[in-house]
């Protein structure tokens, strides 16, 4: 019995981690069609902001939930203003430019903090489940990921900003004729996406530590999840995470971790072969 509970926990944890690292990317890529190669570095900066703020004596929760997203939002705002804004609509050029940004951020962080791991300890202790025990912080992580996803869904579909944002994304000319400042909407969306990525990095810092080149480990998985999800912004990547996460976790558990990782990629290939525009084309049609 406790065996089953702990296995369910591993599966849900795997889904939550995929969702957490993909949400910021889903907002930026899904809404703006901007391929942000610096996504992994936004996560990394969120982690660093948390660790540095905490080492400077700030409360861990404040560092994670306030300082990190605000700091990365600031970086996102600067990057949008200086680079991304000039390249809207140029898919390949944006890709190159954000890749350059990613290399720059890795280099800058390495130059300032050195190429060594830093970290903070996970708070909250542990919870015994029968003969097993799990980190309470990981439960918190699952909870906050669910909260983030639900609020993103609500904000997008039930608020005025969500409506304006969707309008600007779907048909910017029409939206502009109706008096919407599309540039501002784009900027705000990019900044929000960056802030969410920063928050993801902050939340991951206590369990994985921070390294200048840690983004690379996340960016590929985030892209795989978002692209397998397809057109429906939130439900799309969430369903992809729900398919990919359990397969990886279960295969890592019953077979080997290498097989788990490989299966995630193989499954993404199969999904994209069956649904070239992502799984969400099942319920929103192939756009």
């Amino acid at each position: 019995m406790d065996n089953l509970v702990i296995l369910c926990f591993a599966v849900i944890n795997s889904i939550a981690l995929l969702a957490l690292i993909s949400l910021g990317l889903a907002v930026i890529f899904g809404m703006m069609r901007v391929i942000n190669f610096a996504h992994g570095e936004f996560i990394m900066l969120g982690g660093y902001a948390t660790v540095i703020a905490n080492h400077c004596g700030l409360n861990l929760w404040l560092s994670m939930l306030v300082v990190a997203p605000m700091f990365v939002a600031l970086i996102g705002a600067v990057a949008e203003r200086l680079i991304v804004r000039r390249l809207y609509g140029h898919l390949v050029t944006t890709m190159l430019a954000t890749w350059g940004l990613s290399l720059f951020l890795i280099g800058a962080v390495t130059a300032i903090f050195g190429n060594t791991t830093m970290g903070v300890s996970a708070p909250l202790g542990n919870i015994p489940i029968g003969a097993y025990s799990i980190g309470a912080y990981q439960l918190f992580l699952i909870g906050i990921t669910a909260l983030l996803v639900v609020s993103a869904l609500l904000a997008l579909h039930w608020t005025k900003y969500g409506l304006i944002a969707r309008a600007a994304m779907q048909n910017s000319e029409m939206a502009a004729t109706l008096g919407i400042n599309c540039d501002r909407v784009y900027a705000a969306t990019f900044i929000i996406g960056a802030a969410i990525s920063g928050l993801a990095g902050a939340l991951l810092a206590p369990i994985s530590g921070v390294l200048p080149h840690m983004g690379a480990a996340y960016v590929a998985r985030a892209f795989v999840t978002v692209i397998s999800g397809g057109g429906a912004l939130i439900t799309g990547f969430l369903s992809a995470a729900t398919i990919l996460g359990p397969v990886e976790a279960l295969l890592s558990y019953f077979a080997t971790p290498v097989l788990g990782q490989a299966s995630l990629l193989l499954l993404a290939v199969i999904i994209l072969r069956l649904f070239p525009t992502g799984v969400s084309s099942l319920w929103i049609g192939g756009r």
């Binding site: 591993a10 944890n13 190429n115 097993y132 990981q138 369990i207 994985s208 390294l211």
Partner: protein, 410 residues
């Protein structure tokens, strides 16, 4: 740049004069008053946590030798190369050390990949290679001398102690590359010998940071002890998550790589307390010789020098053993120095007595089993004078002088 004919001629004349002078000066160490050795370590990039302190230890050894009047009346000069954590740099710099700087010995190339890239170059130019890192064992090559511990010297004492004191059921979790897989073979060798049991061999890619499934698996297997050979920054997540799941106080962790990258300083005490490792050297070692050594380290690198662990200590012991061999040989020539090393050089240093072992080209030494508490290591057991493994007699440069391949334990 505007290049006039005159300045071009001037520059090229100066360049060729310099290169001619260079080749004369370089070839003439026999007549000059100094002799060069090379430190080839990663001083930047992800592996600099091992390279920088190893290079520091070589520097300490060279300064000690020079302060005592040098070697055979010559001052030892340390040529330092930065491998930049880039394998491509190793053959290039090894060649430069051999041809341009005319060094008489090269030490470094700590990672397995760097070592394998460097060995053939130095073999070709007949420059002795001192290997200072601990490793899986089984390198028995004429041109190479390993001064740190091989697999059997670290794993055997650690597992003997573990099976006796912590329990018989062992769970192995490791990074997925060559050395941890070879160390993994030793688990099975030792389990068979000591009546223990290896419950699983789990290998994780180097970039994995989520160990939830791994920890669940270990909890389900209920081992008496976890043997970790996880390497690198991302893998440190395992220790964080292990502690967060409350496992640190329930199942002890043993390791032969933990702390080589100073994990005990990067991670918090509540994530590492109680971890047990085995090394030939650790900084807290309480001997008069070690106090002298640490004073010299402080003199070179200041009070806040990096922690000196068993991995980087090879930088010091390697140079000192080589120097003893030079003194015995009365020469810097390759053949004479190797013959002296093969004769069994006995040197008493900060880590106790070390004796070079002729046939295997490895080194007999003490190994300390130590435990960390609040970032400080303390001694729990000591195994004296452990010889390198003979690999059933195959590890022998006298009978197999042309052997260059690695040997595997049986």
């Amino acid at each position: 740049m505007k290049l006039s004919r005159r300045s071009f001629l001037g520059t090229s004349a100066a360049l060729s004069a310099a290169s001619i002078a260079g080749s004369f000066a370089g070839g003439a160490w026999a007549a000059s008053d100094s002799v060069a050795i090379a430190s080839l370590h990663d001083l930047s990039g992800p592996l600099d946590i091992y390279g920088v302190p190893s290079n520091l230890c070589m520097k300490v050894a060279v300064e000690e030798i020079n302060a005592a009047g040098g070697l055979l009346g010559k001052k030892v000069e340390l040529k330092v190369y930065d491998g930049q954590s880039d394998i491509n740099k190793y053959p290039q710099y090894a060649q430069k050390a051999a041809l341009t700087d005319r060094v008489v010995m090269v030490q470094g190339a700590l990672s397995g990949a760097a070592r394998e890239a460097t060995r053939p170059v130095l073999r070709k130019y007949k420059i002795p290679f001192i290997y200072g890192s601990f490793y899986e064992g089984g390198l028995c090559e004429k041109n190479t001398f390993c001064v740190n511990t091989g697999g059997n010297q670290q794993v055997v004492p650690l597992l003997e102690w573990t099976f006796k004191n912590l329990g018989k059921k062992l769970y192995y979790i490791a990074s997925d590359y060559n050395a941890p897989r070879n160390f993994g073979i030793w688990n099975h060798v030792m389990a068979k010998r000591e009546g223990g049991q290896v419950l699983a061999d789990d290998y994780y890619p180097l970039d994995v940071t989520d160990f939830t499934a791994a920890i669940t698996k270990i909890q389900a297997a209920k081992p008496d002890v976890v043997h970790s050979c996880l390497v690198g920054g991302p893998a440190m997540s395992f220790y964080r998550q292990w502690a967060a799941a409350g496992m640190l106080k329930k199942i002890p962790i043993i390791s032969i790589v933990f702390a080589a990258g100073n994990e005990h300083e990067v991670l918090a005490p509540e994530e590492t307390d109680g971890t047990i490792v085995a090394y030939n050297y650790f900084q807290e070692l309480d001997t008069p010789k070690n106090k002298e050594f640490l004073a010299k380290v402080e003199a070179v690198a200041g009070k806040n020098h990096p922690y000196i662990n068993g991995e980087v200590f090879g930088g010091y012991s390697g140079v000192m053993l080589w120097a003893e061999a030079v003194k015995l040989a009365g020469s810097f020539e390759r053949e004479a120095v190797l013959a002296a090393l093969e004769s069994g050089i006995r040197w008493e240093g900060p880590a106790g007595v070390m004796t070079t072992n002729g046939p295997s080209h490895n080194t007999t030494q003490d190994v300390h089993i130590i435990k960390v508490e609040n970032r400080v290591w303390s001694l729990i057991d000591k195994k004296e004078q452990i010889p390198p493994d003979t690999y059933g007699g195959k590890c022998n440069v006298f009978t197999n002088p042309n052997q260059t391949d690695f040997l595997m334990p049986n």
